[in-house]
Amino acid sequence: MNRRTTRHRLRVLSGYVGGVLLGAVLWQVIGTIAPHEVFDSLSDTLARLWQIILDGTLGTALWTSFQTYLVGMVFALIIGAFGGLLLARRQLLRIALEPYAIALYATPMVGIIPFLLALLGFGFWPKVVVIILFAFFPVLLNTQRGAQSISPELLDVARVYRTRERDIWRHVILPYTLPFLMTGVRQSLARGLVGMIAADFFLSSDGLGGLLITASERFDTAEMLAITLVITVIGLALMAIGRALENHFARWRVG
């Protein structure tokens, strides 16, 4: 039995390690065979990555993108959370606006970017608006779903004890809704990142997305791959943060 589990673990481990190695070797081999402007090898990509880290290009771009992302996400969170609570607790508003929220949620937001550009122009805030548009719907809809599903028993008990309205919000509604909100936050983190790259592409061309575009105009495949690698790491890190937040608050999630 013991030997079997050891062998099994070895097989699992070799699967993961093999997967990484296979990918790395394929990348290296294809990159070496293919012309430089089509695909570049792993070693060239890492060398280029090191280069743009050292000369500060990457740092500047990261900082620019990070600022818009952070501000956009904060706004998306506030608007989504308050909007969701409002829609959940005010039935008239919900009936009136929910269909439009769902239709807008289904809209490919990139299509709106040219209009925003014409209306707001270039700069920091138009980009923030793009990120808000991409990111706030999951927060809104999840918060609404959560706040709406509070069981009447909880509210009843609070009423029986003549709890003040303010305390009902503080001790019942908000804690109950928080785990749902966090599910929305997790989904928003990824969507906001898409918005950030899209804003970098089509509004003022700076940040990580701008770096990608200029690299593609130079046919600098190594730099494009290096930036994509950075974006992948950021994406995975954000997903891990989102998961951790969600799991942390899921402990007191009811239903």
Partner: protein
């Protein structure tokens, strides 16, 4: 805050109803009136606000309605619609086939999952539109770049859902096939594939929005013919109202396809339980 009190009191009477709001739900007619008046309100605010405070070329509801004949008479509009939506259809078909095969392999064969799982996970986590510049280098400024983008965007949620779904094939079914010494390929076509079908649809539901984003971004970057380019070109030449119509076509397309999928799942596969979203 009085609504809460009201809601809570009323539910005490109608405890049988499942949600607190159920007992106070207004009639269908009242709902539609509310909904329509809210829509009208939004349009009026948009119209008045933009007429007063924005330049004349910014789109307004009345302008967009007036632009409908122009758009439909535009000889390039319908070819552009066909180009984009046709590419999305083609991409979704490729993604369904590829996604089902890869997803089934990952779900049923642990070794495949270990090797591929992290790549699928990584690609699913990143904004794939970041790959568009690379695709323009590989495929040039061509419709192939757009198709590749659509397939890449659409295939990941399908792989993910099918892999998760086919992992939970009922052990009883598999035991029965083993007892009857059913050939392996018949187990796959007869048990594993039908089991995965609803998950293909669930993945497809997530894939459509992503595919449209991929298509529009690819068109924005490459400027090949299509709805995205139609939007971009018209906005840049101060014909925003026409561009709004094109955007609405994209949204309607997305909503109709998603409604069809929901209908198919509810009618054809009522036993299906969705997997937890990635």
């Amino acid at each position: 805050m009085t609504t809460n009190t009201k809601t809570a009191t009323r539910t005490r009477i109608a405890r049988v109803s499942s949600t607190p709001q159920a007992s106070t739900t207004p009639s269908r007619r009242k709902k539609i009136t509310l909904w329509a008046s809210a829509g009208l309100g939004i349009l009026v605010v948009w119209q008045v606000g933009f007429t007063l405070f924005a330049p004349a070329y910014i789109a307004t509801p009345i302008g967009a309605i007036l632009a409908i004949p122009t758009v439909f008479a535009d000889p390039i509009f319908f070819p552009d619609v066909a180009s984009t939506l046709g590419a999305v259809f083609e991409g979704l078909l490729i993604a369904i086939v590829a996604g089902t095969i890869i997803g089934l392999a990952m779900g049923r064969l642990p070794d495949v999952n270990r090797v591929l799982g992290m790549y699928v996970g990584a690609f699913y986590a990143i904004p794939l539109i970041a790959i568009v510049p690379l695709f323009t280098v590989w495929f040039g400024y061509t419709p192939q770049a757009r198709l590749a983008m659509i397939v890449l965007e659409a295939v990941l949620p399908i792989i993910y859902n099918v892999a998760e779904g086919s992992r939970i094939v009922s052990a009883t079914y598999l035991d029965v096939t083993r007892i009857h010494r059913v050939a392996w390929w018949r187990v796959w076509t007869g048990v594993v594939l039908p089991n995965a079908l609803p998950y293909v649809l669930a993945g497809l539901d997530l894939a459509i929005g992503r595919a449209l984003i991929g298509a529009v971004v690819a068109e924005f970057v490459t400027a090949i013919d299509g709805l995205g380019t139609y939007i971009l070109f018209n906005v840049h030449s101060f014909h925003q109202n026409e561009a709004v119509i094109a955007l609405i076509v994209v949204v309607i397309f997305a909503l109709v396809i998603r409604a069809l999928i929901n209908l198919a799942v509810r009618r054809g596969l009522p036993w299906y339980q969705p997997v937890k979203e990635a």
